[in-house]
Every structure is written in structure tokens, then in C-alpha cells.
Symmetry: C2
Subunit: 312 residues, 2 copies
Amino acid sequence: MKKYAFGIDIGGTTVKIGFFETEGTLLKKWEIPTRTENGGSQILSDIAEAVKAELAERGLAADTIEGIGMGIPGPVLGEKVVNKCVNLGWGVFNVAEEMAGLTGIENVKAGNDANVAALGEMWQGGGKGHKNVVMVTLGTGVGGGIIVDGKIVAGSFGAGGEIGHIKVSKTETAVCGCGKTGCLEQYASATGIVRMAQKMLSEDERPSALRNVQYLSSKEIFDAARQGDALACEVVEMAGDLLGMALSYISCVVDPEVYVIGGGVSKAGQILLDTISKHFVENAFHASRQAGFTLAQLGNDAGMYGAVKLVL
Amino acid sequence: MKKYAFGIDIGGTTVKIGFFETEGTLLKKWEIPTRTENGGSQILSDIAEAVKAELAERGLAADTIEGIGMGIPGPVLGEKVVNKCVNLGWGVFNVAEEMAGLTGIENVKAGNDANVAALGEMWQGGGKGHKNVVMVTLGTGVGGGIIVDGKIVAGSFGAGGEIGHIKVSKTETAVCGCGKTGCLEQYASATGIVRMAQKMLSEDERPSALRNVQYLSSKEIFDAARQGDALACEVVEMAGDLLGMALSYISCVVDPEVYVIGGGVSKAGQILLDTISKHFVENAFHASRQAGFTLAQLGNDAGMYGAVKLVL
């Protein structure tokens, strides 16, 4: 194993570049803008320039670098081929081959950004020390990343870890972004939690601290629940119940050692972990009840860590 | 790769032994009794004698054999160590090492029998040509085997593929064998399907051909449904609905290319596949809806096929 590698997380507005020691230390990180114009044709060459400039500054040759890993906001086939990425303007092409050509670094791999972030949390974050990890990202939506025996489960049709679209209600009438009804993310994402609270607030006259909040977010709901606000507690219980139930399904499939909870909603901390794990244990098969619950630790750096892990 | 290998499926009453060519042809199969007395201490030596006798008869030395794979009705850690197996009287020990010592064949691996059967169906049965396969066994219970990238997902606590214990009902009062309520196998196993039919028969006075059956099994229920019996159709729909829903959850986790349906209930054939896949498509995330449904093909030989695949 060579001493250095790059981990690169390509987002719709910025590209996060990490220069790592291959044993796991992030030596330097910086961002460049993602130029999505002209079908995103500049993105890879911008990254290649940044990589080459970094090597020149450090006086390192391309052959001192173990590889370049990339996280991409779309489906990736065989760790090489992007299968359309709307946010970047990309169609179908071999992103690994192209980056290798641009940089002279042979070992290039790519993965879907949510899956790659899960790999990063397994390696150096909340799942450190484990090989079977499921990451649950509670943000605008509910994302997931399934890691079995240290490797990402991307799925046959790119739907591996699409846990936000597990159907948890048969009676829902509101439609999810995916076109179905009753998906987990309609209740347990930041948006879903606020939606449930607003629904409860409109359905009865109960006093609640949440009635005084002008722009309700999941943060105010968890804060109020921590203060004992009954309606807020009910919302948190409902989200935790559906999450705990859905994670019990996942344990009947891949049976991870640990669930790592990340995304904006996870800033709620212990109250969230406690509520999810309580409902998980109620619903899980006995052998799986030992699974642990932990918070994500790498924040926005998880993608860079997971990307570099792809090539190690 | 050497030319031959053994695939051995150890059951509670008989041991099935298969002598294979490593490209996949089963040359000979036979059974010996499973001697479970004295903590099952004779089982491995009985198998070793059978293996050595077969080699002697064919004039083959131990070093002409690629390996011995074994399926075991209990949890197996790291493809080597049995972690208690009540049906065989076994505690915790390195079954691979012991079999290697008894036969002089170094390459020995073991796996849980349900998982190994799934691997067999992937290799030479209903899932042939695919690397991402989920096998669903509808027998006395509902079992599962998850194959990702050609490898068994055994799980961290031995619960990988325990899909019969996905909770599909929150209102059930009857208790499952596992101690929970509302598990998939309470509705979709052979036993569960009969239970649902008996419940419906007792709850109303509707005419049904099933009222004339003295010993009701899932076969009579599917036969009656095929004849258009309304009550039987309703039972089949209910089982198919819950199975299709549960498999849609599985697709949000590992997203297999194909589901292979086996076990006694699968003798119902096309009507079963059609009902499951209809409800699967209703509930699945759009990308996963392309997943295929097929019947298991290897029957009781699946365990031998999967066992030998472990060592290839």
C-alpha cells in the first residue's frame, strides 16, 4: 500500500477533495465549485487540476498515490460507470477511466454518494471497528447505506439501501417523491417529522410549545419533546416507532452489528437513538436485538472518507 | 481447480452426500442416517467414512478433491465454527477443522442450511446466471437466504435472511414460534396459510369447497383458488399481499435481481408467483420493480449444491 490517496465527494454545488494517508488520516481537505454547465464536462478536469496542483505543491509523483475514490450523487455500476447523474448533468460514461486518463493515477473507483458516506462511517466514524453496518441518513429524505463484510451493497438496480422507501403505512394518502404512498421518509425525514407535527397541530386544540414557532423544523420538535411537550413527544414517538420497525426489517435481511444514524435530524442526539432503539427491540427478531445504535461522527466529511476507502 | 468435490447437507434425520464435478454436475448422491445420539459425536466420522469409501471405490486420492462443503441446521461462524446446533446435539466447535482431520481433505467449509440452499439455487437452480439472489422458502415456516455478489449474507448475529420474522401485522394476537406477534411466517408459511383459511372458515358461513376437506393443507387451498373458490382466493391473496410487501422491503435493502421461491408451498406454481409479484410491484421502489420471480428447481438437492459451491 502506498502512503497517500485522494477521497473526493462530488456534490451538486461543490466538490470536496480530501488528501489522505492510507492508514486513515485526513491530511488536508478543501472545496472547489462544481461546474455543472455544458453537461458537467468541466467537473472531472477541474478535479484533476486540483489533484495535480496538490501533488506538485508536495513534490509527489502520480505513482506515489494509491488511488482516487469518488462519491457521486447518482447510480454507479461496477465502481466505474456513472449511470446518469441529473444533478451534475452527466449521462452514462466510465468516470473511473476518464479520471485515470486525466491524472495518470491508475486506481480510480467511484460509488453512489450515500453508499460511500456509509462506508466512510464504517471505516473511521460511528461504525468504526465493524464490518456489517447500516447507515441511516435522516435529512430532507431518508437515505441508507448497507455495508456487508466491509463492502457496499449497491443493489442490482441501484436501489440497495433505499430504506426511505420501505412502505410503513397502508393508509397514507399523501404521495411520496418516489410516487408511492406510505414511505418511511414521509414520516421520519426532517420534512416528514415537520409534516406530522403540523398535521397533529391542525387536528386538535391541545396546547403545545410548537404552536408559537413560526418556522417549524425538526430541531424545535425534538427540543420541545426534551422539555416534555406532549404533542412533540408524540411526534418523536411516531417517527421513532416507524424507524425502529423499518430497521427491524433490515435486521431480518442483513442483520448488521450496528446502525449509524446521521443527517440533520441526528443532531437531536440521544433522545433520537433511545426512541429508535426502543422500538427496534420491540419489533426485531430475538437474535438481532443485540445490534447497536450510534450517531454518525464524520458529518460532511463522511463522503471523502468513504470515497478514499473504495481504493484502499 | 481440481475435478471433484463433495457437497454435504446434514439434516436432523439423514445426511445427504453429493459427489460433484466442480463445474457443477452432480455425479452421484446418496444418504446416510444422522446419528444424533451421544451429542452427535458420530455424525462427522460417519460422513468421513462415506467420503473415504467413495474415494476408494473410484480409486481417487484425497488430493484429487477440491474440497468438502457442508450445510448445517444451525448458525455457522466464519464458514468454520458451528455455534450450537440443537437438532444434531452439537455445541460450539470447529466443524471444518475436524472434518479436514478426519478425511485428509484440507479445504472444508460450512454454512447454515437455509443459506446454503439459497447459494445452491443461485448456482445451478432458479437463480442460475445471477449473483444477487434472495431465496424464499415457504415450508412449515418461512425461511430466507440472501446472496449478494455470489456470497451468503449470514448476518452478524446469525439472523441474515430471517425473513419469516419480518413483522407484517401490528394487530395480530397469536404468538409466533419466535415469541413475537405478526411475523410473516404466521400468514405465508404452509401452516400460516392453513391457519388463515381456518380462521376465515370459522368466521363466516360462506360456502367454500374447503369446508369439505378433512385435513386441510396449503395444497387444497391453492387447488380451490385455481377453481375460483372465493374464500380460497381470498386466503391466497392475503398470503401473496404480505409476501409481496415483505419482499418489497427486502428490495429496499439488498435489491436482488431475482427472487427464487421454494419450499412445499411453492408447488402451487404460477398462481403463487403471479400473486406475489403483483403485490411486490404495488409496493416496491420503482427501480426494484424489474426484479424477477422464479420457482426453485433443485428441491431437496439445493443444500448439496450450495454446500459444494462453498468450497469452489
